[in-house]
Amino acid sequence: MIKAGALLYSMFLVIVIAIVSSSFVLVNYYNNSYVIGILKQEELFRDVNSTINYGLTFHRDIPSNVLTVLDLFDDEQHITSLTKKTWGAFYILSAEAQWKNKSVKKSVLTGVNINEGEKVALYLADQNKPLSLTGNTKIVGNCYLPKAGVKRAYIEGKSFTGDKLIDGLKFYSEITLPPINEDLINENQKNFSYLISSGDSIVDYELVRDKDSIVNSFTSKTLIFYSPFSMVLSNKVIDGNIIFKSEGQITVRSNTFITSAILYAKGIVLEDNVTSSVQLFAQDSIMIGEKCKLTYPSVIALLGKGNTTVSRKIIIAENVEITGAIFLYNENLDRQKQSLVSIGEKCKITGQIYSSELLELKGEVIGGVFCQKVLLKTPSSIYENHLMDVVINREELSEHFVGAALTEELSHQRIIKWLN
């Protein structure tokens, strides 16, 4: 029989070597797992960005409110999901990529590239009346005007003081405006009703009336605050994926700051000095008080449905700054009570204005104006198709400005901002 004295020593040595080797293996395994995790995380971010780019390109083909699964490169290595939903006059694209327990989710607010087509400073529908300019009026950019043309006018002791009536090319306009984007109207008309989609959470406004801040991420379900009565938003900070709906009027006080949220109501009133970035959708009227500042991307929209006893109006007081879009669309034209967008003196509007009926314009517009008829009210009279002391400058609008798809011609989507 062989004595095992030396074998014991060797076995001990083997165990020591095994322990040292296995600890090396373990350290290496964890190190590798960590590195692979980091690399995978970066790949997920790249895939999410790629998915957003895919969504921008195939925007029209992607159904709203439905999760679309994509194999980005058809290699089963880059599988992501994409969701599109309407957010007022814009869209939200949400992309998600997953690997094991890791997940990356990003959302973007998108609008249309309004510089893709012709850069129109003024489109005035042809109502067989010329456009008359007076005072210090300046129009820079291409214009679509009635066949009756453009002329100088002398009103309230003022005559036209500029060098050129139109600093740009002139084309003949049609009897009606380029048709408004039906999808934009229909999607937002639906939101006036109490009905919500299955992906949203509805909360009675009374429960949060006394809260001073309401914040909801775009990665969560949309929070809808509903009231059958009028609402007053006072002393609040409202930020994110939030919609306020009222069957009555919503009033926003100057001590309220809103970012990204949407308001749907019969009537909306912004008191003087409100500063926010908000989308306002009303059915009857919107009143914007003096010195309000609505930063990009803000939207003021009046969507008239059916008949009304009073004329529908968007009234913007003096010294207001708005960057975004203002549009009015009335389903039924009532010649006795025509709808009106009125923009006060010393206002500065950067972006788009579309009025399917009347527009009373004072102040300055950096962007494009589309309207059926222009109205000028003076203390002594009311003039049709007259502009006095107005600046419309399409050339000054940034190349990077992303707006709302007010007409169907505009389709190329671009990112307005990253939401998370």
């Binding site: 004595k3 095992a4 004295g5 095994a18 190190n31 590798n32 790629s50 390109t57 195939f58």
Partner: protein, 118 residues
Amino acid sequence: MVKLSGKIEAFTLMESMTSIVIVMIAFSLASIVIVNMSTSGMTREKQNAYMLVKTMRYESLLQDRFIDETIESDDLIIEKTILDYGKSEDLKVLLIEAFKGKKKLFTTKDLIVLKQAK
């Protein structure tokens, strides 16, 4: 000189030979593990490749520089290729690969929207 109190037993030749074989096997297995470890995972050259690919991708996106390019750094070759994306003309695939000789070390793939198509 101290005298040993007892008698120490010596190992037999067979015993010594067996233990030497066992230790040799253990050492060789351990060295295989360590060699495998050092050549797999994130090696120094893979780290270099990763950094170069990442820098090239970042600069391409920042500067909208979407052209085919190849750079050489030490013994690494970084290739940037802009490929058509079959489903749309507006989209392109930004493919960046790092090679050492014929061995592919690192790859990134992005879908990009070309500026003129934005």
